[in-house]
């Protein structure tokens, strides 16, 4: 792959009028520059998140961002929201505490594939099972980048990582399938090339009750791409442009990603199912009648 790509070659659609460039409103500009490498995709996901948040018209004061550990784990720290940078893998249960603690909040987890699907995998499946009112944006760069490029739960077979120097031989997770099968009511996957669609999905997820999951495939030029000779982040974007197949409503069993394979993207799941809080309130009211005091007191949530 060439290391320089012209914008036209990428076939990037022109930004639409409603896709506003970032203002400082949702970023902690005093914390910039950020820590991410040049041509890393995490910043693009942040941009898409802010765009989706604006589009959702949610009150930013009532939106919390929670991250775990890793490159993507730094996402929360740059967002001008109530933002929490937690422990490795525990962003989802921390966010669960926030979401239950104040049901008026919309709590968003933005973290990486290792954080969410490996060390935090148990929390992912249980939050989905409970249909907890959370939106999880999992930035998948196919490796543990912060620690230098180790293999993770999404590393494709044969991909080189620092801990799989002869190629990965473990089967990776198909994250959309995992999320759907555990009970997520909204599941989508986009790459960082699909900024507008990613932002739209984020907006939809933010305004949906229950557990929503969005996988954002991101370049990792310094670790994953370098070891696998995939070029720069821009080259990876070019790859996404050529190899992504948009298939909304695709059967998530079919959307697994292999090394160098086509990447199925789209909105895969958008269903209705009562959330944890709805189920809880319903059952407790049924069983306890007037004796039930909803969380937050008689006039509570």
């Amino acid at each position: 792959m060439s290391s320089t790509v012209k914008r036209d070659e990428l076939n990037i659609p022109q930004l639409e009028d409603d896709f506003q460039p970032l203002t400082g409103k949702f970023l902690r500009e005093e914390r910039l520059p950020h820590i991410w490498c040049s041509t890393c995709g995490i910043g693009i996901v942040i941009t898409a998140f802010i765009s989706g948040l604006q589009k959702s018209e949610l009150d930013p004061e009532k939106v919390c961002a929670v991250s775990g550990i890793g490159c993507s784990g730094r996402a929360a720290g740059y967002l001008r929201l109530d933002s929490f940078h937690t422990t490795h893998g525990r962003a989802i249960p921390f966010a669960t505490g926030l979401a239950l603690g104040n049901p008026e909040l919309k709590v968003v987890v933005i973290s990486g594939d290792g954080d969410i699907a490996a060390i935090g995998g148990n929390h992912l499946i249980h939050a989905a099972r409970r249909n907890m009112d959370l939106t999880v944006i999992c930035i998948n760069n196919f490796n543990y980048a912060m620690t230098g490029g180790q293999a993770g739960p999404t590393t494709p077979i044969e991909a080189i990582a620092s801990t799989t120097p002869f190629g990965c031989f473990e089967s990776p997770f198909n994250l959309p399938f995992l999320a759907e099968s555990c009970g997520a009511v909204y599941v989508a996957r986009w790459t960082t090339l699909h900024v507008r669609r990613l932002a739209d999905s984020i907006s939809e997820a933010l305004t949906k009750s229950g557990f929503s999951f969005i996988e954002a495939i991101s370049p990792c030029p310094t670790s994953y791409a370098r070891r696998n000779k995939l070029g720069t982040g821009l080259d990876e974007m070019k790859f996404y442009g050529k190899n992504s197949i948009i298939n909304n409503g695709a059967d998530t069993r079919t959307v697994d990603i292999s090394f160098g394979s086509k990447i199925t993207v789209g909105k895969f799941v958008d269903i209705e199912r009562p959330s944890f809080t709805e189920n809880r309130n319903h059952l407790l009211k049924k069983r306890l009648g007037d004796r039930y005091i909803p969380f937050g007191g008689p006039n509570g949530h």
Binding site: H85, T96, L98, G101, H126
Partner: protein, 386 residues
């Protein structure tokens, strides 16, 4: 201020320590519990699960103890008083997010109904071997507050104290029960709500832009908190941070950050420490004990006194911070400390350290699974007296 009457089950009850702890938490204003079942603490969560829907609380059984402690920290940021409850193996898993709570300076209460360890150990039988884990279990330097009740009544009373200390010092408080106290049933008197003193969280009232969650004018002062969702756009992290909570990765920031975590407890230790003394003044021998062992020691104490040995009892209600000053004072006056505990020597090491050779320390160890025969403690007293 006084407790909200809705959460205070005023009256005389015959309940065990676990239930009393749960009632103490509700009376203290706790309205969020995230937990995972583990013997011998499960009854606390079970009781809360039944009571919370009647008092406007939120109970969630999480997928493990890692998640439980993480959810507690998250919930506290919304303004709740939050707790979790566990025993040894779960306590180990909670160390990770206990560290987060310490670093973020988040008030909450973690109950450990201690059983025998290591590992799965003795799920149904008592131990007091998590005392050093309570002090040092999460990585890095910090100070912590830990309490050890010795009766169901104290499980009620001191759970309220634990929440109050937690709010006062913006620190997680460890409530170190043991299986005996947890499963012991006795009369517990729950007073009227207007007799229950509650420390409410101190919330920031000034201009939002000026709020600094980690601002402290002197090393021991405590910044007020806010609630997520109130428009402060705060940031909190487990990383070393500055007064705004923003990551700052250098040695000066580390010095400021960690010294605050330590000094707010260490330099205020005398305001935090609770001990109960029985005939310590004028004693030659002082038993230092806590939890169930402080009760088992009483027959030995009485027998020793009958035999004319001037014996006192220093009962640690707060285990951490450790009453260093008092032990140092006593070491100047007495002959020997006798330290019975259901472990192979943990608090006895602290006593020995503080006594600094000026008084002898005799550990009376027990690996757990039962309690001491008072005779063994008496023998140690007799040994100290000769």
């Amino acid at each position: 201020m006084k407790a909200d009457p809705i959460g205070v089950a005023t009256g005389d009850h015959y309940i065990d320590g676990d239930i009393a702890c749960a009632e103490g938490a509700i009376a203290a204003g706790c309205r969020f519990l995230a937990g995972y079942p583990i013997t011998p603490s499960t009854e606390v969560a079970e009781h809360i699960a039944a009571r919370f829907p009647l008092v406007g609380g939120m109970f969630i059984q999480m997928e493990d103890e890692l998640a439980s402690m993480a959810a507690v920290v998250g919930s506290t940021w919304t303004g709740n008083k939050s707790m979790t409850v566990t025993s040894g193996p779960g306590f180990s898993l909670m160390m990770e997010n206990l560290g987060l709570a310490i670093m973020m300076e988040v008030p909450c209460v973690l109950v450990n109904v201690q059983r025998g360890g290591p590992s799965t150990g003795l799920p149904t039988l008592p131990g007091q071997a998590d005392i050093m884990q309570a002090r040092w279990g999460s990585h890095g330097d910090y100070e912590i507050i830990a309490l050890a009740p010795n009766s169901p009544q104290e499980c009620f009373d001191l759970t309220i104290t634990a929440f109050n200390l937690s709010e006062t010092w913006r620190v997680p408080v460890l409530f170190m029960m043991d299986e005996c106290i947890g499963h012991m049933s006795e009369k517990v008197v729950i007073p009227e709500a207007d007799q229950v003193d509650i420390v409410e969280r101190k919330f920031f009232k000034g201009e939002k832009e000026k709020y600094r969650p980690y601002q402290f004018d002197d090393p021991t002062s405590i910044a007020p908190l806010i609630k997520a969702g109130d428009g402060y756009f705060i940031h909190a992290t487990g990383l070393t941070h500055d007064e705004r909570g923003y990551p700052l990765i250098n040695k000066d920031a580390q010095d400021r950050n960690v010294k605050h975590l330590v000094n707010k407890i260490k330099l205020n230790a005398e305001k935090i420490i609770i001990s109960i003394e029985d005939q310590v003044e004028g004693a030659d021998i002082v038993i230092v004990a806590y939890g169930i062992t402080s009760r088992v020691a009483v027959p030995a104490l009485e027998e020793a006194r009958k035999r004319g040995i001037k014996t006192g009892l220093l009962r640690l209600v707060t285990i951490w911070p450790f009453p260093e000053k008092r032990i140092r004072q006593l070491a100047e006056k007495i002959h020997t400390f006798v330290v019975p505990e259901l472990n192979l020597g943990q608090i006895s090491l602290e006593v020995e350290r503080c006594a600094a050779g000026k008084a002898a320390t005799i550990p009376v160890t027990h690996a757990g699974g039962g309690v001491h025969d008072p005779e063994i403690i008496l023998e140690a007293i007799m040994e100290g007296a000769t």
